[in-house]
């Protein structure tokens, strides 16, 4: 078991390598064992058991952009919560008020999105 700061990353690296070998090793192994008889039906893109229609490129509805942006916003919020949690005890009320304002403004964003009915599923 490697130690220290970089040692822990060596452990992560070992796990990553084992994971990759497991996936691609299994795929390579099955490639050696399986018979290879490609037909048109087999090479079709799997689409829930239905023959695929059109190309892989379709224009997505613009409303999904709001979902992606909301994800970004709350991702950033979560990122700020980590350093906040570590200093919360030292700074006390000050840190609390700062975070309440921050989350309050972002809650305003969420409220706006709900009010404008962009979060409703069609």
């Amino acid at each position: 078991m490697p130690e220290g700061y970089f040692g822990s990353y060596v452990t992560i690296g070992v796990f990553a390598v084992v994971g990759l070998v497991l996936v691609f090793g299994t795929l390579a192994l099955t490639r050696l064992l399986r018979p290879n008889v490609p037909t048109r039906a087999k090479t079709l893109t799997y689409e829930s058991g239905i023959d695929p229609i059109g190309t892989g490129w379709a224009q997505a509805n613009v409303r999904y952009y709001v979902f992606a942006l909301l994800f970004v916003i709350f991702d950033v919020e979560a990122v700020f919560l980590f350093p906040w949690a570590t200093v919360f005890e030292d700074l006390g009320t000050q840190a609390f008020v700062e975070m309440v304002i921050f989350i309050g403004v972002l809650a305003l964003a969420l409220l706006y999105a709900i009010k404008k009915r962009v979060l409703e599923w069609l």
């Binding site: 409303r63 990122v79 700074l91």
Partner: protein, 172 residues
Amino acid sequence: MADTYLQVIFWAFFALMAIAGIRVVTTRNVIHAALYLVATLLGAASMYVLLYAEFVAWVQVLVYVGAVVVLMLFGLMLTRAPIGSANFDNNQRLVGAVCAGLLFAVTSFIMVGAFEGQEIDFTGTEGTKVQSIGEAIFSIYVLPFEIVSVLLLAALVGAVVISRRDEGRVDS
């Protein structure tokens, strides 16, 4: 001895970043460009790890690789343009190259001027503590921190205004 390993790892990630960065601008498929950008950003995250800035590294992975690239891919999926072809190329390569070169020169100049001759002392360090980042944000840089929330609010309001259909019209 450990330093040699770190050097090898650094140059390996550097090569990865350089190749991926070049592929971002040379690939003909914009989706591929976005995926190469993921590789570049992951390389940047590995640089942060090598600089003992673990928290920044994982924020990089979480926000940039996780969220910003997703947003970019969404943006590409929403465009009607024939994605996957070379239609995004135009004859402004020279201007782009000059702008990028100037930007690189200016930022390098500022960086070198700001940190010239300084060396980071890594001996016995366990890296930048998240606490020090938290202290900086919540006691010194409070106003920029709060402005971030307003910026995010403005981004969402803008996206909603652009993407929303007219009131009363039912979208099929």
